[in-house]
Amino acid sequence: MLEIRGLTASIGEKPILKGIDLVVPDGEVHAIMGPNGSGKSTLGYVLSGRDDYTVTGGSVTFNGIDLLDMEPEARAAAGVFLAFQAPIELPGVNNANFLRTALNAIRRAHGESELDAIQFLKLARAETKRLAMPDDMLKRNVNVGFSGGEKKRNEVLQMALLRPKLAILDETDSGLDIDALKIVADGVNALRSPTFSALVVTHHQRLLDHLVPNRVHVLAHGRIIRSGGPELAKELEKSGYADVLAAAA
């Protein structure tokens, strides 16, 4: 699915990622943990193609194609989905309209027919119902006036509709209560299949209780300093990053 080799990236002159090697096989969920400022969010942005980040070295292949050469929308069409840590507000842009435009853009890229308003609404309502979201979520402007929890749910709704191959969850669990956390986890679990993988960036074990990862990686100072099974997350929860950091130093 995803193969990252020696990836380095910077913002302006400042190097953030200093050589990431990571392979996420088909159908697996990997968790990325690490202290603040370790480059976790940068990894998500670089994989999805944000302009402000410059890739200075290394490669990323996604199902055999070179991801780094592609525009953000082409990556989205290829199946990369980034759930934002702080979802962006789009004043005046109706959520349903936004989602339909996005879905149809991706369908077009795949040579599929576009959905009309009625077809789309049917699909969207089914998802909001499944995710236990109020219907008016679709009528409201994208993320405008949404509570923190609503914004995160909206990200999950988008993910459910766009059906990505790779979901990158950038601290989607931060600031969520336990019910919302479960919705996020269920959202990802529902997509789990041999052709879906996920990179879950998180601080907490809590989410990983509901969303059991195949592998856990610790990112610090722009590098992956340790990888392990789900038990690594539990260990970190108990003893913090200090020991791992010291061991790697």
């Binding site: 980034l82 842009v93 853009a105 402007n141």
Partner: protein
Amino acid sequence: MSATAEILDSVQSGYKWGFETDIEMDLAPKGLNEDIIRLISSRKDEPAWMLEYRLKAFTAWKQMAEPEWARVTHPPIDYQDLHYYAAPKKKAGPKSLDEVDPELLKMYEKLGIPLKERAILAGVEPDPNERPQIAVDAVFDSVSVATTFRETLSKVGVIFCPISEAVRDHPDLVKQYLGSVVPVADNYFSALNAAVFTDGSFVYIPKGVRCPMELSTYFRINARNTGQFERTLIIAEAGAHVSYLEGCTAPQRDENQLHAAVVELIAMDDATIKYSTVQNWYPGDADGKGGIYNFVTKRGACRGERSKISWTQVETGSAITWKYPSCVLIGEDSVGEFYSVAVTTNHQQADTGTKMIHIGKGSRSTIVSKGISAGRSNNTYRGLVRILPSAAGARNHTQCDSLLIGDECGAHTVPYIESRNPSAKVEHEATTSKIAEDQLFYCRQRGLSEEDAVNLIVNGFCKEVLKELPMEFAVEAQKLLAVSLEGSVG
């Protein structure tokens, strides 16, 4: 005289309405003098009082100077180098659509204007069962060539006809109201219009009547070196309701063309007039060559208690737009509204806004202006809110937002707020911003192209205004915004 037969390549510039129609024209010689005015008046079989009105206006105009306060620049206009009358040749006036020149019908078909009754405006997904019907008055250069649904309307007493016809058939109404909202010498362009106006629409809604369908006028400038001076007069008697739409396009030409219209609205007690414009005159090419000079005076008088006049405009065209649809709120508790989207790209200049003059007690007004500047254009909101001492308890709220796309354009906000009544409350807010990088990225991450993302964000920015348009127009306006901004990003 025949207009030149050339279909200009409109695809190149993105202006899809830039073709020219080859049709036999009756064209007055160039120049402006009393003889030309007499000629216009006689071509229209006008009564003597109308000619007098025109001549008086011409005398006033000669004493006046072009206004200089707007933020627009253009080379001097040679008013003697224009044709003031251009009409398709005809035997007698067409009584029915069958008599309209087929070339003209073809043109309106191409523009998507329904001159067949029961037809609909273009740009709309067809759904014939639910679509409301729209009556259309089509004005081609100096004359109205067709007005649809007149019979249906006359059954409920609504008069909808070319103003030149109203001058002949309803002289009392025209005499009473023409120039009563925009006096002859109100400004340079209104005086010019009063002297030489050729056609436009006349609407009269009798007491208590809710007009059964949307009325619309479609203006088309075709002939070369021709000014278009249309005049529209809408009167809504007590308790009447009407929604009126206008659209405008012109062929693509290298020289500038002048359009100086005057629109007057009168609303009596409890009457409502909703006036919507989608202005898409040819804006000139990417280098600023050609395009329409759009110098327009639009004003409504809320004469009656609880009367309401609402202006909605989407301005994407014209090389220069100079336009301030206004409301004089005379009646107690009368309401004025102005909703505007103005888009400028390339070298376009827009100086547009409104005036809300509060005279009546408890009068209220709302102004929402959204300006979008791209390319090397300049986009100015200019608006006046004036509260007179009599307007106790008056309210105004103004919101002006500007969006800049690219770093070679300008966005300007020039509000004038004048209050002379302590119990009145006036609030004005203005912001300027650009499309945020993170908004663009968010959309692109979800699979939207950059252009689609910009369209989506721009439409969101304009939503408060677009939602005021009748649905058919809103769809067309959204598409127009997208076309106008094509190529301005990236």
